[in-house]
Symmetry: C2
Subunit: 458 residues, 2 copies
């Protein structure tokens, strides 16, 4: 890993914790004051606790997501934000009804699984077929055309946890592309090993989109222990027959929406700093780490960023709808607001664990503001990198249009143990780690919103 | 904790691991030879892998338990045991059909739960009621008679993991007694916080028996994250209404059975050494730690115990049926074999983690054989205690009748994370820890089966 400049042994030792006591004498520094206050503040945790308890699961386009918008509007107003409102749009909705699977032969037993987004529904009585096993997506791709006719494809993989989350992009192709490939080769259904890194009977759901012209088939993720069990059963060498009941339905033209809140700046011409998260969640858990935490972090951080006075630039929160199912909220935001001057966009959508790295995607010649932000983050154990920031789904259209971006990278080693499972619940959020996120976001938003320079190309 | 005599720093440092290389020069010692060979042998793991894969869940009195008996008879014969047979009996069976729950108000959302054994069934359309919250069993007991009329009782508790598993006996009363108490006070159903120590959406099932004259009501365990969520919802102070659908059925007079296998000894008059486990499991998982591991341990250990020659005493394995639902197998064994001379009884039914302590329950004046066994266990990091051995459910009638007993106590810190949940699967079994169990059992069975003295009162 590249570091932008040397840092002391003390910083290394402090990695992962803040040390307000060592910062004595610096309390006149507004950045230090913001960092310390944010580290000690529970606003973010209270936000996560409230949204996950009082709303719970909030799938895009459902009445639960609508309740989440109402909840967020009320909470953000109560926290003192300005211009708080929901901005609505409509979208199609895939809805899970029931997921059941049984090995019929040679060793009858139930399997735990969850249909993937946009899965076709089986008939109410289910379907039955012989399993065709593939240890990887490459093996599935190599299967001859038509060779899966009448069969249930089962695709495994070897995903392991990584700090930067990069294993998700790579192994996630099993979920994103596997169903379309299996359908093209004639499969009547596809099962995948959950895209996750845990060992619990918790299937990881997630969206997949059918490739053009492909017939939708029932598609589901087995929990990892179930995927391992099925692999062992297959290894006995006898034909394996499975019965699948995956009932779901598609609803057209349902209401969804984004929630917007602002801390108005003093200089409208300087553009706005956008902080994004998403309000929707998958249906199985209460979306504590994905992404109530991101919304709690940006809301608490924006308040701290402005505690030392009205910022130069408006800080705007975007609590996007429908991130999990394709980004309808991000596109609706861009359609409505893409023409406004965005000086910077940032997104928090990788759980509640600590930030370990900051990546910059500012304009050419903006090393000075990057260094000021890196300096402010270093006491939190965060190292500046030379990796280019890329943002995430909620701000993707903005970043593609050239808006500068900074990524505060969270530690992803636990994330895919929980991601998109029933286990995404409040108890997985560590308040101290969450508050480290708030502190990092607060100083970053403060410095970016108050920077005298532009953040774009010089 | 008391130790029976001082032991060296080396033993302390070795705690938890065997050190064959340090035992060089002792290979002529049959105990050391058995211990080393057992530590390196995968027979127990293969047994657990086979039973959990090729049979899977095996609730008492079901066709799956019958398949487990067939599987065990075949495997034990293949391993070279003598007199291998199933001994059958009949019993009533409670069977889970479907468990669903939803908070209706004030914050609509699903809850994850599992009916407890012998729960009454709700009608197919479910039941609905307001929740009455009790933070402990004592609080439920203190509720006035009739005060729960029409309500759904919800009882929480504060169970934490302990090494000796003692928290289960204490807090388990919420499951064992809570349903009868709630019914007596007029409740229409009871929910408990699962008797467990994890933070996963995995409800812990388990048996409970209705007290005499009590009307059965629907009774279920919420997963611990769900119990915490419901507690938070209740803490908002608004009335909480829940809809419950807990469908189950009772079957009369179903076949169950024990499996017996032996290594015949040379001296029938010396009595037999009984090693017990149970073959049945709860329905949600594959019963890897509860109790396929116990059966794998005793089978592998008996083979190693006899590797140096025919033992003086017969070593008999009892793979009991129906342990989870009340001990029908243990009672059937005692009815058929209680009059035979049992020199010693032992049981393995606390998972697959390492043995850390040995407790003795031998006759008066049997310090010499206890010391020989303690000496043989010490290199495995196992400390002898002054706690009296008590055995477990599978050998309870024997122990009550006065048969000497030794307990090889397993580390229980992880056990109640998994116990009676869907998560009780093969991946939770650590082969090295399992083999430490086999080594400890092998040397204990070897010394007990070959002891020249009786193990009863001198």
């Amino acid at each position: 890993m590249q570091k932008i400049r040397p840092f002391s042994l003390v910083m290394l030792l402090l990695s992962g914790m803040a040390a307000p006591s060592l910062a004595r004498g610096a309390s006149a520094d507004p950045v230090e004051a913001i960092r310390s206050a944010a580290l000690a503040d529970q606003t973010a945790y209270d936000f996560v606790e409230g949204l996950t308890t009082e709303v719970g699961p909030r799938p895009a386009g459902t009445p639960q997501e609508a309740r989440a918008r109402d909840w967020a509007v009320a909470r953000l107003k109560a926290l003192g934000f300005s211009n708080v409102r929901a901005e609505s749009y409509r979208m199609p909705v895939w809805e899970r009804v029931r997921d059941e699977a049984q090995v019929l032969a040679p060793f009858p037993q139930k399997l735990v699984l969850a249909a993937l987004g946009n899965s076709a529904s089986t008939p109410a009585k289910g379907i039955e077929g012989e399993v065709a096993y593939f240890p990887s997506l490459a093996a599935l791709e190599a299967a001859p055309e038509g060779s899966l006719k009448g069969k249930i494809a089962f695709v495994s993989h070897a995903m392991h946890a990584t700090q930067d989350g990069s294993s998700y992009g790579y192994f996630g192709a099993v979920r994103r592309q596997g169903p379309s490939i299996a359908s093209k080769k004639g499969a009547i259904a596809i099962l995948i090993r959950s895209i996750g890194t845990d060992k619990h009977r918790q299937p990881h759901s997630g969206v997949q989109m059918w490739a053009d012209g492909v017939k939708p088939i029932p598609a589901a993720a087995l929990s990892i222990p179930d995927a391992e069990q099925l692999t062992r059963i297959i290894s006995r060498g006898q034909p394996v027959r499975i019965h699948l009941t995956l009932i779901s339905r598609m609803l057209k033209d349902q209401p969804s929406g984004n929630v917007i809140a602002e801390i108005p700046g003093s200089d409208p011409a300087a553009g706005l700093v956008l902080a994004a998260c998403h309000l929707d969640s998958w249906d199985q858990g209460t979306g504590a780490i994905d992404d109530a935490s991101g919304c709690g972090i940006i809301a608490a951080a924006a308040l701290h960023a402005a505690k030392t006075g009205t910022p130069r630039r408006t800080i705007r929160l975007l609590l996007a709808g429908a991130e999990e199912v394709g980004g309808d909220g991000a596109r609706a935001y861009f359609a409505a607001h893409g023409s406004e001057h965005h000086a910077l966009a940032m997104e928090s959508d990788f759980g509640a664990d600590r930030i370990w790295r900051v990546d910059f995607g500012l304009g050419k010649g903006q090393e000075a503001i990057a260094r000021r932000i890196a300096d402010a983050l270093a006491p939190l154990g965060i190292a500046a990198s030379r990796v280019a920031a890329g943002g995430g789904a909620d701000i993707e259209p903005l970043v593609k249009s050239g808006v500068p971006v900074i990524d505060l990278q969270q530690d992803g080693r636990r994330y895919f143990d929980i991601h998109h499972t029933p286990d995404d619940t409040l108890d997985k959020v560590d308040p101290a780690r969450l508050q480290q996120n708030v502190a990092a976001w607060a100083v970053t938003l403060h410095l970016a919103a108050n920077a005298s320079e532009s953040l774009a190309n010089k």
